[in-house]
């Protein structure tokens, strides 16, 4: 069942069983570990540049809300061009897709932080990254 939760900082992201799609969090002793991954379509260099800014904003937000950063790490990967080879029994068709899909992963390991708030914040990071890339 897909629901929306309510908390002090309203979050408009859809949740499934309390989690954002693509974002997982768990507690390890007192440590909150939150991991997310999203495909962003756009130019690699632009995404990298924007991600640096977004990671800084995320780190500031964590500290301003009383969290202690263990670390925040992000990884940017690009797999292209994509080649599709297909046939219906006659000729074999080769199709190259050159559009750039960039996989962005973010892992935040934080002390003294609410899991849903951090999940929402990381979901917002991905949204912001896509919006900035679309501009």
């Amino acid at each position: 069942m897909i629901t929306k939760h309510n908390h002090a900082e309203s979050c408009n992201h859809h949740h499934h069983s309390g989690h954002h799609h693509g974002i997982e969090s768990h507690l390890h002793d007192d440590v909150l570990v939150c991991s997310g991954k999203r495909d962003i379509i756009g130019d690699l260099e632009t995404i990298k540049l924007n991600l640096v800014g977004e990671v800084k904003i995320l780190a500031n937000w964590i500290q301003e809300t009383g969290g202690i950063i263990g670390h925040v790490k992000a990884l940017v990967e690009r797999d292209f061009p994509v080649t599709m080879i297909s046939t219906t029994g006659d000729d074999v068709t080769i199709k190259e897709m050159t559009g750039s899909t960039v996989k962005v992963s973010v892992v935040a390991i934080v002390f003294n932080m609410n899991a849903q708030r951090l999940e929402c914040r990381i979901a917002s990071l991905f949204d912001a990254l896509q919006k900035q890339t679309d501009l």
Partner: protein
Amino acid sequence: MKILILGGFLGSGKTSVLLQLAEYLVSLEKEYHSGIKVAIVENEIGAIGIDDKVLKKAGFSVNNLFSGCACCSLTGELVASIKNIQIELDPKWLIIEATGVAYPGSIRKVILDELGLDATILTIADAKRWQRLVSAMELLVSGQLEDTSIVLLNKVDLINSAEFKQVEQSILNYNQTAEIIPISAKAVIPEAILKKIVNQAEVLFDNKA
């Protein structure tokens, strides 16, 4: 198979040290019979691995342990992973990068108890954040110093000499026998330091043999 455990708090620079150390070990073992001179067990507490991808891109053989800690919740997986590496790859060196919240001494104990193999612990400490981390989570950061023979005090380029002395003294309060070596892992770690780490591990291995 000689085993090195790399411990230290989150963000202390373990992976940066590991990359340089692994490359150094590969350069030392030119004549080794196995194709794999250095194998790495990468333990990440998150569900998504990041450091393992960096290490694989650098050309190393990496086994992943995700979503838990090799010192507590993933001890069985750690033991199975080491056994597999020993049988299938037979590397000269195995480096285990602990999570930033692991107690390296506990990992060493698990390996010793379960496999009868001893390991050298190398702990990386973040000089810039040390005092803040001690204030906020003393048990964890001091516990990571237990049982370590060498502490690489990383990011010393970001502190002054007075701060360095404070951090050094603080570390010595928790572990009086460890050798503290200042480094800046974002730059090249001097070969003499890498050699010292390797020598410690060699001595431990030779004494057990």
